[in-house]
Assembly symmetry: C2
Homo-oligomer: 449 residues x 2
């Protein structure tokens, strides 16, 4: 058996169920790992080791008592600090939420707990899941950005402090940091998972998402989290399929490669790297074709910026009017911009976006999955910003499900990934296709810690 | 055979196909009728009798030549003056569009022509399909409003100047005037029919709709108009079923009566009248139950006003900034309000509305159809406004398909109707249920002209 901190969520849960490891052993191993690395990496904003160990002991006790266990029984998870956690500080890493302790859990947190997972702690986010860099460092190279906004979730999973962690994506906040850190990042279709109890950025763009070290773990979390929610009527009532069933035995997917826009904005190394990955998938049997984006891509990035700024301002307005100077500079600028955007400009952005959503949904129906590089470059040696979001933005704006899987290392020694998107609510097909690609590419990255 | 001007579109098309009447005879009868009534009713803003007769002669010629004919071959239709018509003035009854002659047809107009229909003329709309009363008079009583904004379409159909006419509904502009004039009014689900070439009010609220004198005609028009459109990517690619097949043989529908909100805001006469209609449907075999609206109804009306004002302003802004004083007062007020609405308020209204849309879609899935009175009162003796839109607004805001059918006369001698809504994209089921109700209620209204 590999070292305990190397276990995926699924392997850990299985080991616990089968009595090969105990929740306490696992938690101790992860806490040891965290204590060794956290001073360098700064991935966590809150952790209560004693509570985590007590919880693990309780899980062990339940197991020994023969109680029925959920699919994540005894598995520690990290939570981006925008998820409400009952009795635990939830600050969005902002002084404006300092001291806030929710009296209830986000629906997703309650579902994780209900499945037997243990909240290991709260991971660092950029302030309010926006653009100002966080203190978290990239475990591959501390002079390169770890990405954002879910920086702590990406780094905690990449550095093996925990197997899985929740993040959120409004533009590029899950898949970008996942790719920069060499892990899997996934966000489901808009409305597939409840957002109740998650501090919002932008109501029409925000998605819950997560980081893991395998496609299987991404599917396992979706199985736990997908479904309706009386507290969030926007969360879909569509039936939830068995995402794990057949995950490992999918046929080669029909891949639509999106060169337009993505190859144009990627650096040469990323272009060649992605070409090579596509060629490997093709040789393994996947039919590959090139597909074009709809013309509505032309304003998609700009529209999304307008929408995010206005909707962010709509949420923060009361607090911003009283305490605007306490926000970090990039977020302050964005909220000011949102407040000064006219309603008619915002309306036009949403009108364009409606067209983009419809056209992208149709594009995604034409093949099994759409493939692009995950980022225009690997994580850059620039800690003043969290990196370029433009390869994630279109998928968040149109609400399609999307995943990044590691595909290798750049010359700089930093990770690269490929981004794979599916049709609306076709997460099962997307995850099976991603699992097939994961097996073919056979890339497992661990930072040199 | 009834008088030619009494024929429904379907009966006229059938009579033409079977050689019982000719397109020229029909057109002549309708033009005679129009010439007799139009000076009193003012339903039309543009008509070219010679062109209409020429077109009818051409249709007759095609028929005699044995050419294949469409489902509306030789049937005259009216078009609200916001539908682009190639070579024919399209002014939205506004001096701001005076002299505008489009070089192409709206997609819906092209589809009507393709089905063999003859454009008889353009019907009066309130300015830009908004709230300032039009000169059109109610054929039941000229001191009572005909409703709006599709006033000419409702009155031309009610007064038997044409069998069917296109309107549009952003809040209550099809079903309200239809009910006030004793005819059938229908709007399909949001995105079921192309809006290309229709002068917009509000991109997220506007629906194409139409007036007829039978549910069957409403279904016939939907058959012609539903479907995708390369010029309007928002128009759905969902398959178009055969709306006429089985229309007449539906089983009694399971009816959800929505007393909450609708009975509260209806006058006593409308309450009792609708109760009696429901009782008649129940006695004829329809299972009737009472259903509650979601709590999001609380702000639905207000949210819709904000959305309409802002999106209207987004369209009119360039023209309004130059020629604001030329708009009629109610529209001028609305556009000014839209321009001064903050983007954050508009965002909050759309956010509430997203919840309302989802919750109403779920409500509609619980029964076969939802039934309410069509209007809080019959058309009132007040020509300074076009009547209360609040019974239509929720259905337009949530995008569900909805139809009004005549249910009788009020003490004032003015028509009343019942409004029947269906689930999203379940127009086939809705129309069959409405046809069943139409047969049971067996109300045929003709104004005393």
């Amino acid at each position: 058996m590999p070292e305990l901190h190397e276990l995926t969520a699924n392997a850990a849960a299985q080991g616990i169920r089968e009595g090969e490891i105990t929740p306490v052993e696992l938690m101790e191993a992860l806490l040891d790992r965290t204590n060794a690395l956290e001073p360098r990496l700064k991935a966590w904003v809150y952790m209560d080791e004693e509570a985590a160990l007590l919880d693990a002991a309780q899980k062990q006790h339940e197991l020994e008592g023969g109680a029925p266990v959920g699919p994540l029984h005894g598995v520690p998870v990290g939570l981006k600090d925008i998820y409400y956690t009952a009795g635990i500080p939830t600050t969005a890493c902002s002084r404006l939420y300092a001291g806030f302790i929710p009296d209830h859990d986000a629906t997703t947190v309650a579902l994780l707990k209900g499945s037997g997972a243990i909240v290991m702690g709260k991971t660092v986010t950029t302030e309010f899941a926006c653009m100002d860099p966080s203190p978290t460092l990239n475990p591959w190279n501390p002079f390169h950005t770890p990405g954002g906004s879910s920086s702590g979730s990406a780094v905690s999973v990449a550095s093996r402090m925990c197997p899985v962690a929740l993040g959120s994506q409004t533009v590029g906040s899950v898949l970008r940091p996942a790719s920069y850190n060499g892990v899997v990042g996934f966000k489901p279709s808009f409305s597939r998972v409840s957002r109740y109890g998650v501090i919002p950025v932008s109501w029409s763009l925000d998605h819950v998402g997560w980081m893991s070290r395998s496609v299987e773990d991404a599917a396992l979390l979706l199985q736990v989290l997908a479904g309706p929610d009386p507290n969030d009527s926007v969360a879909s009532h569509e039936p939830v399929p068995d995402y794990l069933d057949g995950l490992d035995s999918a046929l080669p997917p029909r891949i639509g490669v999106v060169r337009q826009f993505f190859w144009e904005h990627a650096d040469e190394e990323v272009q060649q790297h992605t070409d090579a990955a596509v060629e490997k998938l093709r040789l393994a049997g996947a039919p590959v074709e090139e597909v074009d984006l709809p013309s509505s891509i032309a304003t998609a990035i700009e529209d999304q910026q307008v929408v995010m700024a206005v909707e962010g301002a709509a949420f923060h307005q009361p607090m911003f009017e009283r305490r605007g100077t306490e926000y970090q500079p990039k977020l302050r600028e964005m909220l000011g911009r949102g407040l000064s955007t006219s309603s008619t400009n915002y309306s036009r952005a949403q009108e364009h976006r409606q067209q983009f959503i419809v056209e992208m949904a149709r594009l995604a129906e034409q093949v099994d999955v759409l493939l692009t590089p995950s980022t225009p470059t690997p994580a850059l040696a620039d800690l003043t910003n969290t990196g370029n979001t433009m390869f994630q933005g279109p998928w968040t704006s149109c609400g399609l499900p999307v995943i990044t899987i590691p595909s290798g290392l750049a010359e700089s020694g930093l990770p690269l990934g490929v981004q794979i998107a599916g049709a609306f609510f076709k997460e099962k097909e997307l995850l099976a296709a991603a699992r097939w690609c994961e097996k073919v590419l056979d890339v497992n990255l661990a930072p040199p810690l």
